[in-house]
């Protein structure tokens, strides 16, 4: 059940780490491009000649796309790494909660603590009812933390997806594709 509810933190962390590494590689490539452009500009101003063709450059919209990619890949990677960390902590909390729920003779249905079906002795039923509120409150707090983690990741990625879609569309429009 923990795997179903909590997914796999390591696979989320791997994607996050890869996004950040690749954002850093793109940033290095962007800086090398800026260096090459300024070297070209210096040579151009020193050796200006109307007979020489201008050095072609990346259009501004492509530089914007490159900048957007660097920023958004890094931000999404960081959000996924945070999510993976929180997911691992929440999975651990769920394991502890599951064990205590089981000891109290109760069961977990998703992140809700419920009484199991079937007959119980008076003592067992009384014990369950005494334990249920505390365990249910813990399960609610955990569900709330899980919800917040998912919401934060969803907001970051949804915004990044929209920004990247617009930047890519601008670049493609300029290419006539």
């Amino acid at each position: 059940m923990i795997a179903t509810l909590m997914g796999d933190p390591s696979s989320c962390s791997q994607l996050g780490g890869d996004l950040r590494t690749r954002a850093a590689t793109l940033l290095t490539a962007r800086e090398a491009l800026a260096d090459a452009r300024s070297a070209g500009s210096r040579a151009g101003s020193r050796l200006a000649s109307p007979d020489l063709p201008d050095l072609p450059d990346l259009p501004e919209r492509d530089q914007r796309l490159l900048d957007t990619l660097v920023d958004r890949l890094d931000a999404a990677g960081a959000a996924l790494q945070r999510y993976a960390q929180e997911l691992a902590e929440q999975a651990e909390e769920l394991r502890r909660l599951e064990a205590e729920v089981s000891r109290a003779g109760l069961t977990l249905d998703g992140l809700q603590v419920v009484e199991p079906w079937g007959l119980a002795t008076v003592d067992a039923a009384s014990h369950r009812r005494a334990e249920l509120p505390g365990l249910a409150a813990r399960a609610e707090r955990l569900a709330s933390r899980v919800g917040r983690s998912r919401g934060a990741l969803q907001r970051t990625l949804t915004e990044a997806t929209g920004v990247l879609a617009r930047a890519a569309a601008d670049t493609r429009a300029s290419l006539g594709r």
Binding site: L15, A36, L52, P53, R72, A76
Partner: protein, 98 residues
């Protein structure tokens, strides 16, 4: 001399553009190999949408940079350089750059 310096700058720029294109195309492919499990259907779909869009944006960048590279190495551009100094074309610079 003038043409040679200008040619060197072109090679530097071409190498930088080629690096951006390679990096964008490689990242575009690599991102699609991840299979993250977020534990939630809605969150998983949002992650998938982001990865697809990031991959697409990287492809758009690679295509656009390929266009810039093509114009850098266009025959008109090379002829212009060769007419000023037949020995200073990009072909020579490429060999010199090794």
């Amino acid at each position: 001399m003038r043409t040679e310096s200008r040619s060197g700058s072109r090679h530097l720029l071409a190498a930088a553009l080629a690096d951006v294109r390679r990096c964008a195309a490689g990242t575009s492919d690599a991102l699609l190999h991840h299979v993250p499990d977020t534990g939630d259907h809605v969150t998983g779909r949002i992650v998938d949408d982001f990865v697809d869009q990031a991959s697409d944006a990287l492809r758009a960048l690679a295509e656009s940079v390929a266009d810039a590279l093509a114009s850098l190495e266009s025959p008109e551009s090379l002829e212009s350089l060769e007419s000023l100094d037949p020995g200073a074309g990009p072909g020579r610079g490429r060999r010199d750059g090794r």
